[in-house]
């Protein structure tokens, strides 16, 4: 359900969030300022304290402009190939996300096809597919990394893609099962009177009918895939990717690195969702669905 109209409400809420953010930054960073003053044997008034909460090197909560500056430094202030560039780390995460996304789509669609075709698959696999999503995959993440290492797969692309695929296959599976079953009995009967084979029924009726469901699930799947990739970058020894940046920021006590990586991830998520939305519109236009 999209609410069209003026962007005024959204802007108002955004402004509200920024105001609250600044207030929280002053409140949370004030302790450090007062501590410093006490150590130096001086006292600070409220008016002196506020500016000092805005520009700390290691703030508890960096105010928005510091995060924006860090983002700008990470995106525009470095060569794109530099290890300190957020574009570089974002690209590593993007690559992992797309691999997991592709793998998840392929697995989800194939599983959905066999579930719709074979009743025994539906009865035995579907409950386990649901249960698989209640298992916190992140528990598996460190182990997938270690095991793939021992099996001689170097690099972290494959394990990351597996984790991302695990999270993203499920929405595709559920929607595709729904979509492939969406043609009603009349349409199926019509194709039978044409003497259409099972393959033809699938290609000409079931597959086109499932497309709206498919694209609706892609938005959920790409977000899940990004989460999976970032989680796959978190544990032990990762050096590349936005998740690894967060871990590094956490270990070295550099909150600005963490916040920069966090917002870079948010921007990446936004771009990915926009991209999928664009793909959906393009496919709809090609298939002749009225907008």
């Amino acid at each position: 359900m999209s609410v069209r109209g003026t962007p005024l409400p959204v802007l108002t809420v955004l402004c509200g969030i920024i105001v609250i953010w600044y207030a929280a930054a002053v409140w949370m960073n004030a302790t450090w300022v007062y501590d410093q003053a006490e150590r130096a044997g001086t006292s600070v008034t409220f008016a002196e304290m506020v500016p000092q909460t805005m520009a700390q090197a290691r703030p508890l909560l960096p105010p928005p402009h510091q995060v924006a500056a860090e983002l700008w430094k990470g995106v525009a202030g470095q060569a794109v190939t530099s290890k300190r560039s957020l574009v570089y780390h974002g690209y590593v995460t993007f690559k992992g996300t797309m691999m997991g996304f592709g793998l998840g789509i392929a697995f989800g669609v194939l599983l959905a096809m066999s579930i719709v075709r074979f009743r025994v698959m539906d009865m035995s696999v579907m409950p386990w597919a649901i249960i698989s999503q209640t298992i916190p995959i992140v528990a598996l993440a460190p182990m997938i990394l270690v095991v793939s290492n021992q099996m001689g797969i170097s690099g972290r692309d494959v394990p990351k893609a597996i984790i991302a695929a695990y999270l993203s296959f499920f929405p595709v599976l559920v929607s595709m099962v729904k979509g492939l079953r969406s043609p009603d009995q009349m349409q199926l009967d019509l194709l039978r009177t044409y003497g259409a084979s099972e393959g033809a029924t699938f290609l000409k009726l079931r597959l086109p009918a499932s497309m709206p469901y498919f694209f609706a699930s892609l938005k959920v799947a790409i977000a899940a895939s990004l989460i999976g990739t970032i989680v796959g970058e978190l544990p032990t020894g990762a050096i590349e990717g936005l998740g690894a940046r967060m871990l590094i920021g956490s270990q070295f006590g550099e909150p600005l690195i963490m916040w920069g990586a966090l917002f870079a991830a948010a921007i990446l998520a936004g771009l990915l969702i926009l991209g999928v939305g664009f793909l959906e519109r393009f496919a709809k236009a090609r298939m002749g669905v009225p907008a």
Binding site: I135, P142, M143, L242, G253
Partner: protein
């Protein structure tokens, strides 16, 4: 070779049995519906065991289920301590606080279409963000113990539940609302008797998503710092010393906890939204 051949035979036999059941009348009964997936699950375990033994896979790559079961039986106190720390202290309070806050927020902004139009797109966007990334920051703020885990869970579950609840509060139909108005129902009466019940299917949808997110949040937060127990801590340290049987034992507990939480929510949903078409069989 014996192991491999035996595994193959058992797998084929179980699959044939399942196929027969699925094609028979028994598939329409409750028992048949329960039996088929259970047999499939058991077969998977048997195949796993057989393949690991038959191919002589190293336990540091993949331990057989029997070894994992023995580990679970042998280290119940540790597993319980981890479970209590991560699930009972971290995930559950965070889940309750986060979902509660989301429901209250949804009702609070219910009377203001302006706030709704502002919050809904932002909420939808934030719900798609990798919020797990906040984990290191919240661990820095709230310390290594369970408070930081609960905080991560609160942030993670808040937005999916909020978005679903706001959508749910708009789910009642115009006719139904008009009927309430003709009866002279006040805002709160209409909310309590019509719109809240109508919102329940949406709310439970959000709660189900939140239940898996809660466990993910609590476990990931432990990767960034924890006391010397907890499921996330156990997994990351045991992986480091290649104690994969312990890792799998913890995963089994996590899977059980996740499924139990999900099942519990489904049960409550069945009781609360008994009127909804999806619950009538």
């Amino acid at each position: 070779m014996m192991w491999l051949a035996g595994t193959l035979v058992i797998w084929l036999a179980a699959w044939a049995l399942n196929a027969r059941i699925a094609a028979s009348d028994w598939a329409r009964t409750k028992a048949g519906r329960a039996f088929v997936p259970v047999l499939f699950g058991v077969t998977l375990l048997v195949v796993w065991e057989g393949l690991v033994r038959g191919l002589q896979v190293q336990p540091v790559i993949l331990p057989p289920p029997s070894m994992i079961a023995a580990k679970i039986a042998g280290s119940l106190p540790i597993l319980w301590q981890d479970f209590a720390q991560t699930v009972l202290k971290g995930a559950l309070p965070g889940f309750v606080i986060g979902c509660g806050a989301a429901v209250v927020t949804a009702i609070a902004i219910d009377r203001s279409p302006f706030l709704q139009r502002g919050l809904l797109p932002i909420g939808n966007f934030v719900a798609a963000l990798p919020i797990v990334g906040l984990a290191p920051i919240l661990v820095m703020w709230f310390g290594f113990d369970w408070q930081s885990k609960a905080a991560v869970v609160v942030v993670m579950v808040f937005f999916p539940v909020l978005v679903n609840m706001v959508a749910g509060l708009q789910a009642s139909e115009r006719m139904q609302r008009d009927l309430m108005a003709t009866w002279g129902a006040s805002y709160w009466q209409a909310l309590w008797k019509l719109r809240l019940p109508a919102a329940m299917p949406f709310l439970f949808n959000g709660l189900k998503i939140a239940s898996t997110l809660a466990l993910i949040g609590a476990i990931v937060a432990e990767f960034f710092g924890s006391p010397i127990y907890g499921m996330g801590f156990r997994i990351s340290t045991e992986v480091g010393r290649l104690g994969l049987d312990m890792v799998w034992a913890t995963i089994a507990v996590a899977a059980l906890a996740g499924s139990a939480l999900y099942g519990l929510i489904t049960l409550i949903e069945r009781g609360v939204t008994f009127w909804h078409p999806s619950q009538r069989h």
